[in-house]
């Protein structure tokens, strides 16, 4: 008997607005506890929420980028439950009429494309944080995060395995960062997800009972939690028991999911329309303006890089898939003409350095100005490609200017043909046996002579000139 897994994701994306969803409180991360909290965030008696239009515009961008229906009239509801970090005793969310309706997104797993449908994306306010380990026997509450705007993106249960789930999460992350609506910083909790997993027999038409795994915030943990959960559910089903509908937590230390609360223990959230907020109406003009100013997305960038910059499609895809990579590419290309060379370096040496240090391009010391200059110095033959590598490494360490590095280290390429010829002749003269062997048919020895010239010039010789000169002298 074979089992089939059905997965749906609810991704919480923290929108990068300056102020909160219903107050003027700041949304910046990492401040002293309870310093970014105003009267509204605190839920003081008598305060009222005012919806942040900027958050709506960001949500609409997401909707447009995923070909979704935009509800030009959307409403807010209250989700009632008690928790110390929920100041009002209810969360304001969009239950009945979300700003973004049905849409879809393309994912790719092992070279295969698949469309995942998105049920809805709605705005809601985040809660604060309960801090259990700071005060002995007491719980602290930090409300800095309370009221931060979240876009909750709900997928259809169309994801078949952990790999697809990760690909889906990555695709969402890519789109929200390109749209500039979220910083995509998972370590700071800017993106988190709840995963619904169920297992059924392949020929069953109905879905199995699902478990919801709450609040996972890394690609690795999503994959592990799902795989653990699939195994757990299959084991239960194969032993003849049935899966219980419940909420579970993923413990990354033990790599297991644990029951948090069962369906019976679940809150009755008593949703009802929030009487403090009128429906938010987005005018046709407002919508058009957002549409007209929608940032370019990875697919469009990829196409443009192939068509306008003559990149091959694999290079174009790699560069277009990361916002910082694309920004670096476009930034450098605006200052230098050799876009092919820019792309080669980005996909080759720069990517290698990023992988080695496990950082994102924006965390490196490389600027697009300095990068463009490096490409220029290769193009105008000031330095060879080989020297350029060492210059890049130097930039990586110090962030120093390309020309300053070249000058201080005396790396300018030797272009003087007569000088190169003199050096080549000396090497030929000093190595008669190799010359004889080469002339006798050992073609591979050509590289030996090139290497010797390079060694003599400390790598500064123009390799093309060296090749031509040696060919002539050895013929």
């Amino acid at each position: 008997m074979s089992w089939e897994t059905v997965i749906g994701l609810e991704i919480h994306v923290q929108l990068s607005t300056d102020s909160k969803l219903f107050s003027g409180g700041s949304t910046s991360f990492g401040a002293e506890p309870n310093t970014h909290v105003d009267l509204i965030d605190l839920g003081l008696p008598g305060v009222l929420p005012v919806a942040n239009r900027g958050a709506f515009h960001k949500a609409i961008r997401f909707g447009l980028a995923t070909n979704a229906e935009i509800n030009q009239t959307s409403t807010f509801d209250r989700k009632n439950y008690f928790y110390p970090d929920l100041p009002k005793g209810y969360q304001i969310t969009q239950m009945a009429l979300p700003i973004v309706g049905k849409g879809s997104i393309k994912i790719e797993v092992d070279g295969e494309e698949k469309i995942i449908n998105i049920t809805r994306a709605h705005l809601e306010e985040d809660a604060g944080k309960s801090i259990h380990d700071l005060f002995d026997g007491e719980t602290g509450v930090d409300l800095n995060r309370a009221g931060t705007p979240l876009l909750e993106i709900v997928s259809e249960p169309e994801i078949a395995n952990a790999k697809e789930a990760v690909a889906y999460f990555k695709a969402i992350r890519q789109i929200v960062t390109f749209l500039d609506i979220c910083d995509g910083n998972m370590a700071q909790g800017s993106m988190r997800c709840d995963v619904n997993v169920s297992v059924k027999k392949s020929d069953d038409t109905e879905l199995g009972t699902r478990a919801e795994i709450k609040n996972i915030n890394s690609f690795k943990f999503i994959e592990k939690a799902i795989n653990f959960e699939i195994d757990r559910q299959i084991r239960i089903l194969e032993s003849g028991d049935s899966v219980v509908q419940e909420t579970r937590l993923y413990d990354s230390v033990k790599n297991e999911t644990r029951s948090m609360r069962s369906k019976e223990e679940a809150n009755d959230y008593r949703y009802f329309p929030c009487p403090d907020l009128l429906p938010v109406v987005i005018s046709d003009n407002e919508l058009k303006e957002i549409k007209d100013n929608l940032p370019e997305l990875p697919d469009e960038k990829e196409r443009r890089y192939v068509e306008e910059s003559n990149l091959d499609s694999s290079e174009a895809k790699i560069i277009a898939s990361s916002k910082t990579m694309a920004n670096m590419f476009e930034g450098a290309c605006s200052k230098t003409n050799d876009s092919k060379l820019v792309a080669n370096w980005l996909v080759g040496d720069i990517s290698a350095l990023l992988n080695k240090d496990n950082i994102d391009l924006q965390e490196s010391k490389l600027t697009s100005d300095n990068f463009a200059l490096l490409i220029e110095r290769i193009s105008d033959k000031t330095i060879s490609g080989k020297i350029a590598k060492s210059v890049l490494e130097e930039i990586w360490e110090t962030g120093n200017d390309v020309d300053a590095i070249i000058e201080s280290k005396g790396l300018v390429q030797i272009q003087d043909e007569s000088l190169l010829e003199k050096i080549a002749q000396t090497i030929i003269d000093d190595n008669p046996s190799q010359v004889e062997a080469f002339k006798g048919g050992k073609d591979k020895l050509f590289g030996f002579f090139v290497g010797q010239v390079m060694k003599e010039t400390q790598g500064k010789a123009n390799p093309q000139s060296v090749n031509e000169i040696l060919k002539r002298l050895l013929s």
């Binding site: 009267l39 605190l42 839920g43 003081l44 008696p45 008598g46 305060v47 009222l48 929420p49 005012v50 919806a51 209250r78 009632n80 008690f82 110390p84 100041p87 009002k88 005793g89 209810y90 719980t139 509450v141 009755d268 008593r270 949703y271 009802f272 009487p275 403090d276 907020l277 009128l278």
Partner: protein
Amino acid sequence: MSVQYKTIKELKNMLNEKEISYTELIQETFLNIKNNSELNAFITLNEEESLKKANNLDNSPGSGSLNGIPIAQKDLFCTKDLKTTCGSNMLSNFVPPYSATVIENLENAGCISVGKTNMDEFAMGSSNETSFYGNVQNPWGENLVPGGSSGGSAAAIAAGIVPAASGTDTGGSIRQPASLCGISGLKPTYGRISRWGMIAFASSLDQAGPMARTAEDCALLLNEMCSHDEKDTTSIDEAVPDFTENLNSSIKGLKIGLVKEFDLSKLDNNVVKVFEESKKHYESLGAEFIEISLPNISLSVPTYYVVAPAECSSNLSRFDGVKFGKRCDNPKDLEELYIKTRSEGFGDEVKRRILIGSYVLSAGFYDAYYKKAQQVRRLIKNDFDSAFKNVDIIMSPTTRGAAFEVGSKGDDPIQMYLEDLFTIPANLAGLPAMSIPNGMVDSKPIGLQLIGNFLDESRLLQAAHNFQISTDWHLKTPTGNKS
């Protein structure tokens, strides 16, 4: 010179003519408050600050339209640095760090907030008996309730202590106590006055409004209370007219609707008699009466008692002992913190409504109760919309009778809920409505309710003022007719 029972208009003249200083006015106001302390109309006094403000005005009179006028603020409005209890034990220690927009508006106009008035706990009640701070006495009789929930405000005016008070009206909480205390009170159109800083009971029904001796004074107060407020998205973005402008215009030809479905035959004969006399009086002023039908009006009370508790159950969730207000002693865990804090902090009526509200919103019951109630509410609003195509205002008694005795309805919440039979429909429809004194029943005052069309407060005030310049019911005081 006594300032007791003086109207705002009279006090303004006295101040302008320097018959009295700002300081003397406030000093005498506090003397009257203390002489009437048995009324229990105030929860918190603001004497020092008030005298300071009066002294400042004596030194340099400002340009506010209500300079130096003492006003009592219902203890439901947040007042910066001044304790705000909402009539509840839960907020017995709550000192807000900010003021409600309506408080700011009134104080910017020069009003001096002399104290915070007693009220039914969280505005839930029609007799002021649910206040944690004890019931308020109606100045018209030791054992009589003043009505509620704005009972402290109404009693303070009826006793002539202050000429003005703020109130709030969710199902009749301005009009019913105004009727029972023999004063004038107006609930404006929903959204006319910002709700920012008003401690919410039922957000879609709550509306602040003025309470005073006369309709004219209500107009003076309303002029300052209204403003479009960006902090309240339900606040109406409409120009605020000068509500005093048309007060003296004749109401000849005014079409007044009488609601067919309000069965007055069930009321006390004397109440009906008073109402009939007022009709005659309006006829003598040139108004004409038209019978109108509001077919769904009988559903108002049940609809209200689904919608209001539902909203209150959610609005009052923030009182959990975590951030402000009361916290129980030594809870053993989080659940006990919630249970003990809320059990000790809330009174029975508040608990009853939280339970009703939680029930009607719960999964499986939402459609049958809350959703249905919202649909009925829409029908009631439509009924009014149709009626106002044919009439300018609608008239009815404000209450089913005059003030009742303390404790007389204590055990039967339904009887108490029916107190608001005539007042609730205007809240459900969001329409302006006011109550003015129009007679006496058993030596107790009783009120006439006028309901207006959307944003048509001016017409209500005009009709009320026309009535008051030709009658003397509003001049009656518990100690006899005002000179």
